[in-house]
Symmetry: D3
């Protein structure tokens, strides 16, 4: 049985303004596919999502609708990746977990998707997918290079964890109030619950360097490993 | 503009074994519709869901798949209600928030649905819908008659709250570990987050007496009111 | 070319209350697939269908709607089987003959479905599928162990047929009036017509013992063989 | 509540070669709609269906596939009628009973459809629809002008019935063997069963004169009335 | 019968970076709807489309795929407008002419869409829609304020036409080679053909000022009127 | 990588009245598939389309609607071919370029379709498909045997081109006014634009002899080759 890997890529790295990083991911994904690893890729909405959400938020549009704008933006990022990976990817972008499953079990191609539903971050989509296909590892190519004990952009003495349990992570997060559309942090409560119940590990790495994904697959212990305990 | 009311009915009360309660809901919903109140109804999976999930769990099927069984069971309960309310309800059962919105804004009929996605309880579906259509109240016709300070089935001195803030409720819930398919309690973390961000109130009443829904609409302060603070 | 086998399983044997029989079918279907036999499986609605239909019938809901409840119940049984056979089955449950064909010709996996349309029993769905894919045998894992000359539950001297022609069967059935939703007997007029026009044989065996399906594939002449003459 | 009328029109009268009759139906249907009568219209495949089926039958294609060609042909006839009745009809042609119901309860426009599924004549589609929407009369604008005691094209002394019960009709039909795709006669076993169980009357009139539909609505007792007894 | 107006808005004016213009369109569209005018709105892809297409074009992705990226971008702009016009617009964004027609004839709400198919500009989508619903005027809120005899950005003596026939316009365009994805000029060959065959007028006005749409509806002769001759 | 060939077949040759030619195509397509060549087949509407369009045109139905009738007719021709090529073709008929792509990259079977959208000839559908899948040759099995310098049915001295550039072809066509539904000539402006931008060649051969398709694949220089210059 082939190895199943779930890869979440922050939308930041797939938006048009980072076209060099996009190029990097196209090459990396082809290489991983050629090695025979099966890949599920979930991409975020990035700056496109943020731009559209900002306009709508000024009109007091509800968070559900803001999420819908974010989801469509993430699907546009997914479509960009699909268009650049023809022959390597399934051309259809699944819009919910049922469609994902239908495609996953009937192809060997890479399956790429964006968000599914309002109220769910693309990270929790990655967790749901990993659970549904029985994958035990999610690689999260994030905007940041790991989990810190405090905000590293504000505190110069912030310390990055090599490993952290979900229980400990939950305590750190319990002070932040970040459950707004487009602003889901590295990990959100729904994701934590799924990782727990399905005993899935998630390794957070800096997504600005696509080679980090390869490094994880080769066993390098970079970024932060989140352990479902 | 008509009043929008979101009604969550526990699947327990719509499963075939409670056919008398089903009859009660059919009558109540017709009456409410005839008064010109717009109704979104979300139904749970009840015993049908539990029965199917139990079989699958014995095979170590993942929670995502268990959720899918629960979702289809809740849709069967929804279809039963639809078949009994012809002419009063939109015949189509929306399968995600986008479909719900498409139907809601193009009809005056009652819209009935079950679950949407794995990882979401039907209560959080009710919260997402309330947020999307701008409703500020969810009536939760639950298995229980309100929120208690401890488990009333175990402690005879358990005390029911007339009102409780989300913050206080979160503290009470933080001890319980109930995030399993089919076992979502009265309220789950995702629901709490949506109620908070959209400032929606939820009144929990005993769903075994359909008249309780009418009582709430008439201003009776029964059950427990959860306040988004 | 692989052998195409169409298997109808009575919903009775796939409802949650018969979880041991469900387990048996999961094992048998895996074995048959591993032997390289292509399988189309059609499941009935069983007790779930009956429970929901009973509630709705008390409201004088039309037979078309009762059939819809039965069809959704049969699809829930199909979903249960799909969740237990991941990797062996196509994850999508086709909802009409066109969808069935689309899936059948593009996969080697087992395809599982429930009912298609009001006015059609799941047995006639099995017949339509056999005709569409050119299969000449339907194995009907029924509630009973074959066709009798009179009702074996009422007459102790009822005699089971080893073989019976459709013409003879029609004569026996012409006295019974069983064309009600959820109450289709072993075989109905629509099924008979399809078996006739497409010259398909149907072997009725006792479905409570999943091994009977294997026995038929191994050439055992159990139950009753219905011959299209 | 508006009167619901189900009208079956033989495909013969809606195929391009009978464009004058088509014109007649366009005018009649507008008139009936303007009177406030709600109309469900089911059209057959006619000569288009027969032409395509004939080619495929020469290749020994199965009856299921022949039915699919017939169904698509009937939908083409339906689309022609829809294009000529813009503003009077719902533009979507429902493809199964669920889609029909979804449209029927959310519009006041005429709903037009062709066939639904292999193994069902368009007449039985009309019967299923009548049952689902609670209509008690089907007007069948047929190729013939009623039901006869023998084939009127062969026997000059054939006698037309003004009224006939289903039981008597079944006896007459029991000798004919006409259950082939494209060759369903005026009424088939599935239709008979639905008319019986839902107690629906069907009046067969000569469809070559569209005014006959109006005549029936005005109470004229033309053609043959089939009574569900 | 209500007046049908087809409004094409250049994607430039609906992209997030022009949020003030977006605000203007939201107000104008509500006003027009409140006057009882029926509106079909088609929006282009704007800078979002251009950004995504630029990335993909660097990979030598085919024009068909570039068009798909442009179409999804235009739908994102459409979704933004839908989210800001709740209660005034149909929430569903039709993805082809058939879906557009299905929605148009079953609602009084504004219908908003983006592109339909590769090889078609959103302007030609506007023309197809005008033809299908029998509208004789398209208001094109463009990036420019009309049609000139030469490129006004290059020649200071370029002269704007108040009126121009399609035949004359075709001659002017026959020198430019602008049939690339994302770069369709004010009008393209397919649009010209549809305007001709359906005898539809198109008035090009500067879209940066949303009030121009109102001005046209009030009879002001601004911009350039293209006449189907 | 397998060779991709796009084959456009005029609807004339697939309509029921030319059943012998249909038979020829069935045999030829099987042979080509067995050689390992990947085939995309696009079929026109032929006489079926013309018959339905003629009826509707007499009612002054708009060209968009006439195109819809033509598209459905072409899909009926496609379905006929699909029914005759079971096991060689993907059973689903894609209805737009996105569906075509989804199928093309997930099967090795022949993919057959009819028209996609009003305003597009089936020839331009063939061009869009060739562009999307990177094919550089379209074989157009037309009603005629090539491109002439004047109408060969009117002028006995009309001369057939062996080769012709698009630029030259455009000049010849600029005099004809043939942009009406069902009357698209051998090539239309949209097709020309796509052939140009994607640098695709199209060879026009007489479609009445299916062997011509094989001859082209074997390198025979029959008919007229249109060169994208």
């Amino acid at each position: 049985m082939k190895n199943n890997v779930v890869l979440k890529i922050s939308g930041k790295w797939l938006s048009p303004e980072n076209s060099k990083v996009v190029t990097g991911y196209v090459e990396i994904l082809k290489k991983i596919k050629d090695k025979g690893v099966r890949l599920a890729v979930i991409v975020g909405g990035g700056s496109t999502a943020r731009n559209y959400i900002d306009v709508a938020r000024a009109f007091n549009v509800s968070e559900s609708w803001l999420d819908l704008l974010g989801i469509e933006s993430s699907r546009l990022n997914a479509l960009l990746l699909v268009s650049l990976l023809q022959g390597y990817v399934h051309p259809k972008i699944p819009q919910n977990i049922k469609e994902f499953i239908d495609i996953w079990y009937t192809t060997d191609l890479i399956v790429i998707c964006g968000g599914f539903q309002p109220g769910q971050s693309t990270t929790s989509v990655a967790a749901l997918i990993a659970e549904a296909i029985g994958s035990k590892l999610i690689i999260n190519a994030a905007r940041v290079d790991g989990v810190y004990d405090k905000d590293p952009t504000k505190y110069s003495d912030a310390k990055k964890f090599n490993k952290i349990t979900l229980s400990k992570l939950e305590k750190i997060l319990s002070t932040s109030s970040s459950f707004k559309a487009g602003g889901y942090e590295v990990i959100d409560p729904l994701t934590i619950n799924i990782l727990k119940r399905a005993k899935i590990r998630m390794r957070i790495v800096y997504g600005g360097d696509p080679l980090n994904v390869l490094r994880v697959l080769e066993g390098k212990e970079i970024g932060t490993l989140i352990i479902p305990e």
